[in-house]
Symmetry: C2
Subunit: 351 residues, 2 copies
């Protein structure tokens, strides 16, 4: 157990560029790529350098897939569900409405066959994908008016992510695609009626509470959205085994840390929002039940005409059902008891 | 972006021994140390080797703390709550009754101050600790008779972990300390009335369902127990920065993977157990509420006489309260809706 100084003279010197789909202002989600870059550099004595570029610096946020595929950059940090226009199958690598929660998504990926299925799927895009972050269940977004029935969704101009938009369109919503930076003015002017972004910590930064009063939950279309590291297949294959392992481990470090950071930072942000007048509202059961039905219909319709989608959907669906059955036992009973105990103790301390 | 072959000629060659507190038969929890060893070797071209020894091979399971502290081995894979006999403060690094769930525990460690507090605490033991696995909420264990009231706990000889034993003793339980391998015969002969171990996947291997009919949930004393890598402080300091990062990242990889493996493997094991006649039972609310009260009393009593305990308990308690408040919003509402939808769909398919 004697350690001489590590000079690493024979390890190759590599410089990569990473294109992020996120703006620098979102320190948790954008920060995941920075964490990877720093840890890879530290693990290699600075020989493997990854320079991180925010959305728009090399390519715009939605351009990350093509940039990695075509080798414009060696790697990217993004969410696969941005690319459902190419193939709806992408959605499962991030999140689909009424899907897996954060832990279940990681379990599907790392021990439930999800990663193998997506490594195969991504071959057509010259991409090697690695889980690299999760936000946890997101909030349902900011609404200028209350949503009390399914009818209230009719004609509602709602800024929301792709697959969620298709589900909600079945209930009358008119989904809006607007970049993060343009949401605030659109909501302020009333060009849109509602917008969802991520959760308290990120939403507070963008100030949505100043232009919409009602903050709905949960974002049932994103119960545990995973962020991914995309690596160009050829670049991945050219890495020595050491660097492949180092990069993959750094991604999993960032994966755990991003979820931890969201969990640790959201509570205080939510308290501040509520303290400044934000009205918290759960989506009515009726609305969620109608959306659940619409989502399942959309999955069946899509599976009937897309074999790649069907293959992954079948694995995912069985995994989800098994997870729900197991989580109903120890996990949810524990969580629900803790919630009941908290409520009881909050009530008692008010007396 | 050109990669020459990696020879790593100047990285030091290091051989470490790792003492695990777990038997080889538990592939998920023991396996976490194997995952770390393999990934560290792969990341260093085989230069940093960690040889993993199961409980009893170098030291017995409960001897891991002293073995790392004294430098008998360079590192160990264990649960800190085995060492509450030295100081009850250890418990928080794994789990305490009615504590954090798996995600919350990781959040506390990685972004809530928990790791900093424990790095300080562990200095007295010459140990640098790294999160390295979690099982998720455990099951409450195997009981020969049903538990319907708090009175049913009176005189019950229950094999259970340390801090849980102290809480349950306040309710009349007579806690039993028995190594994993001796539980089956004790339960079969009726020397003990009940025993808790981990969860369906591990419990099934030990065959407890053959000698006890009732399988209770949740293990409210282990809502999200963390497994730790202990590294001897002097050995840690002697590692080059590269190896420190590589080891830490490999631990976080194993951390995410162990939880994933438990989540992916438990559902099927539970189905098989129920299929073979095991009776699933939730602990009655009355029992959990009494245990919750007893746990809080124990924490306050311990904090009053142990400053180290108090310091960590205060941080932990505030973090737990904040987490519960936030999880009550998006996270639990999402999980509970998914459970309700599953139940409804299961009922509909039976018609």
């Amino acid at each position: 157990a004697v350690a001489a100084p590590a000079l690493s003279a024979d390890l190759p010197t590599i410089k990569w560029r990473l294109a992020s789909s996120f703006p620098k202002s979102l320190d948790t989600i954008f920060g995941g790529a920075d964490v990877v870059a720093k840890r890879v550099a530290a693990a290699t004595g600075g020989k493997f350098q990854i320079q991180v570029f925010a959305a728009g610096e090399i390519v715009p946020g939605p351009g990350v897939l093509d940039a990695v595929k075509d080798g414009t950059v060696e790697c990217g940090h993004t969410c696969s569900y941005y690319f459902i226009g190419k193939d709806p199958t992408f959605a499962f690598e991030t999140a689909v409405p009424f899907g897996l929660n954060s832990r279940q998504q990681t379990a599907w990926m790392m021990d439930g066959g999800g990663l193998e299925l997506f490594r195969e799927f991504f071959k057509d895009y010259n991409i090697y994908n690695i889980p690299c972050g999760n936000t946890g269940a997101q909030m349902g977004g900011w609404f200028r008016k209350e949503i009390k029935t399914v009818q209230d969704l009719n004609g509602l101009k709602f800024r929301c992510g792709g697959f969620a938009g298709q589900v909600l369109a079945k209930l009358g919503v008119v989904p809006q695609q607007i970049p993060g930076g343009d949401i605030y003015p659109a909501l302020e002017k009333g060009t849109i009626d509602a917008a969802e972004w991520i959760g308290p910590y990120d939403d507070q930064k963008l100030g949505f509470n100043k232009v919409a009063k009602y903050y709905y939950y949960p974002g049932f279309w994103e119960g545990g959205p995973q962020i991914a590291m995309y690596v160009n297949q050829k670049q991945w294959a050219s890495l020595p085994k050491e660097y492949q392992t180092i990069l993959e481990d750094a991604c999993l470090y960032a994966h755990a840390e991003m979820q931890a950071r969201y969990d640790a930072k959201n509570p205080n942000a939510l308290k501040q929002l509520v303290g400044s007048g934000t009205q918290l509202r759960p989506f009515p059961n009726e609305v969620m039940a109608a959306a659940y039905k619409a989502a399942n219909e959309l999955y069946e319709e899509t599976a009937a005409k897309n074999a790649k989608f069907k293959k992954i959907y079948d694995s995912w669906k069985k995994f989800r059902d098994d997870q729900l059955q197991w989580f109903a036992v120890a996990e949810n009973r524990f969580d629900n008891f803790m919630q009941a105990a908290r409520s009881a103790s909050a009530k008692a301390s008010k007396k």
